[in-house]
Symmetry: C2
Subunit: 420 residues, 2 copies
Amino acid sequence: MLQVNASIMTIGDELLIGQTIDTNSAFIGTELNKVGIWVTKRVAIGDVKKDILNTLKSLAIESQIVIITGGLGPTADDITKPTLCEYFGSRMVTNEGALQNVKDIFSKLNRPLIPRNLTQAEVPDNCIVLPNRRGTAPGMWFEKDDVIYISLPGVPNEMKGLMMHSVIPELQKKLRLPAVVHKTLLTSGVGESTIADRVEDFENSLPSYIKLAYLPAYGLVRLRLTGRGSDKNVLEKELNDQFIRLQSLVNEWMVAREDISLQEALSKLLREKNSTLSTAESCTGGYIAQLITSIPGSSSVFNGSVVAYANEAKEHLLSVRHETLVKYGAVSEETVCEMLNGSLQHLNTTFAIATSGIMGPDGGSDEKPVGTVWIAVGNKKEVKAVKHFFRFDRQRNIELAAHAAMTMLFRFVNEQQNYH
Amino acid sequence: MLQVNASIMTIGDELLIGQTIDTNSAFIGTELNKVGIWVTKRVAIGDVKKDILNTLKSLAIESQIVIITGGLGPTADDITKPTLCEYFGSRMVTNEGALQNVKDIFSKLNRPLIPRNLTQAEVPDNCIVLPNRRGTAPGMWFEKDDVIYISLPGVPNEMKGLMMHSVIPELQKKLRLPAVVHKTLLTSGVGESTIADRVEDFENSLPSYIKLAYLPAYGLVRLRLTGRGSDKNVLEKELNDQFIRLQSLVNEWMVAREDISLQEALSKLLREKNSTLSTAESCTGGYIAQLITSIPGSSSVFNGSVVAYANEAKEHLLSVRHETLVKYGAVSEETVCEMLNGSLQHLNTTFAIATSGIMGPDGGSDEKPVGTVWIAVGNKKEVKAVKHFFRFDRQRNIELAAHAAMTMLFRFVNEQQNYH
């Protein structure tokens, strides 16, 4: 079985000085991995000719495929194309297809076409042009000394289109790739170490061609089994058996037996139960609502949210009693339970989530320090409220509170089932 | 003047197969850059001993500082520490301070301490331990042949704490660093090429020690001037003068003359005008509310939001008339204007934003294709509504709609000023 190694090279000062987060490499790595190409190295360098040339040379020694992104934009600091010309010994020519694409895009956007944009259609004469349907900079495919080099624009949406429509299918056609199978499950509310201890014997007993990976993020831990081999059917059967063993070990913490987000797992469960959800959010400020509405088709389970940041909004839109706010404060069990009932009532849903807390950095007191969050979940018959304490910065506290709230509702909905 | 070069090395298969997006490198790059250390390369490799050793060697040739993150977690696939031992010729010892820290954290979290966690306190005997106040894995500082190597945990919050409290202050103490000054402004609603054309002469006239960078993201473009030199005062004066020239060139598109987000620029403007904001969100699903509430202290300008996903919620919580929804549909000028008025009324604010659209991938029609979004902004006296068409995927359409809506309100609030 052939092991195909790839490396990813990203070009641009903006990646080195941290103004841009490199999401492209993650996407490229995921897609290559899915078809059995192993990414062994990722290198980011600046818009410096010498560094581009040296990195191309050194990556070509260890990889059969080098994917290059960035450095193709219309502004002055882009030197990637001239440097590729030098590396591949080519000269720049205008590609007619790419030129027509630039013209079409500008006429569709109704923006004036300036000379700077026309240079986007120029490419080295010894590359195969990969048409970019989403933008002006075409992809370029080079081959030299048995190494494939693919240069893609750095704009994520354009890079993704080129990867899915050109790069992956062409690589599959060209190379004999191994079978790769993944199986992923999602746990919530438990630490990586505790899981690792529970599955230690299982992990040690795995055959060498199956690997277990832990992928922790904000109170969630994904567990992924990856198998590689030559016979896809044999591999799938073995991986399925191991995945069932793994599930039984972590069952109490599992929220999904597939590679989906917590909000997708929750939406799916609600859909299965023909149920609807609303949220009443104070401290999470709409974060839960936007997570759920980020899922296509979420309107079938999600009616809406009242983001009641001001106390006045809690009273007016969620029917929280003025006396409750005065007596117990906004961050209290009493308030969060009334918010929950208001959400169930005014948004007319089966279930609801309510949050109220102090996310920081200011606004804490001795009695209610920064990080104190009350979360309630429930339906018209039963409400559960829990006080949490998150000890991180504002944004992370919001994310942790949102995950804790969705996990709590997930378990609440599941328990309901057992009594009906 | 000494030019100090650094490189960043991230370790972990999860980065190569794309399950984790590398936000750490961006943070590290930003913070090093601020104190005058130039990051020339970033390399990500897997949990493979040979690759770690080779990368350490090759980065040490071109950099005075190598920052290493990841590979320090408690699960089995971590081989970073033994490999560092080999590279630096050290043996592993338990560090008493780090051990106490592990014990303190577990007792505070009230979680059982298992042997796996205790190994977190083991470090190579020839490093300086950098205490981690936010987690169990300590930072480690090594020096070898005039190169500084710093190993940090991969958990972003822990890495950030170590960078800010230990790494940056220690590097500043140890090295004689150049002065670096940045000035950034934010534009909205204009393309990178159009700006580039406008500022071309300006850019060409800049002295060699001042650089202009374009940082585009979702309908916004940041422009940043960076100056480097030996005399901070001279540099600041020169950079200020150039920054004023740049502002005058792009004034019509500028929403902030500092390095802040669009939501921060909008919140600031509202605070200056002693005004408040609410949102009525359908297609953006709470995304605008969560952007605004992600800013500390946003409660002084933001009362709340009604995320009215279901039509019933639009009627009940925003007083949109049933006949309007029947006659014009949810995605229409009429509905979005009534949503806006409902938001102003029920959330009792000076200004409001309302959105209604079809974000995809499904739900479009010939008349209202996927990507159609109506946005309204206004106050009790005047409402403006505009139809947009976004042509990307769901998540990007949501982000673009949110930015377009906040930009529209920003300009609306600014125009109000001119008439009073």
